[in-house]
Symmetry: C2
Subunit: 219 residues, 2 copies
Amino acid sequence: MTAGPEAVRAARGEWRRSQIVDAATALLSTQGYHQMSVNDLAQEAGISVGTVYQYVKNKEDILLLVMRDILEAYRHNVPRAMEGFDDPLDRLSSGFGAYCRVVDSRRAGTILAYRESSTLAKDALSEMKSLEEETTGLLVTCLRECVEAGILHEHDSDTLAWDLTMLAHMWSLKHWHFGSRMSIDEYARLQFAVVVSAIIHQEVTTRYEYLARPLHRLR
Amino acid sequence: MTAGPEAVRAARGEWRRSQIVDAATALLSTQGYHQMSVNDLAQEAGISVGTVYQYVKNKEDILLLVMRDILEAYRHNVPRAMEGFDDPLDRLSSGFGAYCRVVDSRRAGTILAYRESSTLAKDALSEMKSLEEETTGLLVTCLRECVEAGILHEHDSDTLAWDLTMLAHMWSLKHWHFGSRMSIDEYARLQFAVVVSAIIHQEVTTRYEYLARPLHRLR
DNA sequence: CAGTGTTATGAATCGATGTTCAATCTCAGT
DNA sequence: ACTGAGATTGAACATCGATTCATAACACTG
């Protein structure tokens, strides 16, 4: 089965765009959007500047592709980490841990999302917000299930889920402070314990080993 | 008592710089640094572009002045709100509330700090970080005192203080989500309750009316 | 009033960068 | 080998904006 010329063209398009996204991710990480020139990007990607424009509309389009790439990573890794758990709190803990680890693996990406949101056009920005809300919505669902299962007290799940999201992002945003103090796994465990300890039924605490310790820094 | 020419020059410098900072704060709020032109800024300030350069070194200097202005607001309002409390948890609650309210009154400023940190030179960035650490340090001190007073369990005060800082900033960063759901006072009270409920000795909870309710959205 | 020093002005300058497009290259089919 | 279509190239172009600097205005003093 040989593909037709349209398939060849589509495949080449994907290939070129991923070259561009990879190079842009590297440069945006260190320079930010406004310092990065399209000429530098082309060089980093190993293609000419004219070729860049063959596959992306303009400079802003590049930023949008990169940010979409980053947010999609959250979207895929968090739900996957939530699979296979009967206990909703275990599911939440695993999802939050994965969220933190994705943030860690793409630290510059999270920072970029906060830094460049003003650069995006209105509808692109809405798309970014929707992706973020989707991931946070998964956390809300788990929290609600924990309440129904009698694990957690009644609470404002929307706010608590956003707290978890914000604390996951904080690993990147304040990495200059936290990075030398603890590992990402220690951080994730500690922050999860903070939020959950506020709302958990005391008598079920002993069921979860990740809540076994007081809220010390683990060292 | 008439001032000498140096005093006149100093006063004029201060006046011009505050004109520049006020105009820049307005424009940076809506446009961000890279969209704001120095010509537009001069117009907004009601002075010529040449005069701008009489009093600031370059465009980046303007950004630095604005950000210093914002962080100084935190630095002055938070300690002041902490005065006059014997109970360290009351002091912390008041300080956190003030922090949230300063963030609210200067929402664009907080966003700017996250957005433009990559634009600043290394030593300017260090200065910004130091100012932030100073405010957070006040929260750490209160948390330690609460532990010594037997109000809070032993915990990692550094991380919890940064959690409070991050949650204060979140009001600005995620205002698009929270702004239509609750007032800044409701938000501050709820977020304070989340963090403190995780670490408070149960038997002292009833002493504090701001912890009287479960962690519902207050409506 | 004239002279001097200080302050303000805004058009011009200069450098950088996003984007284009004419020229060239590559590949597949005949 | 030739041809045509598609892909690539990178210098040129047009635009923009940070900064400068010659000129003008202002304030003060003798």
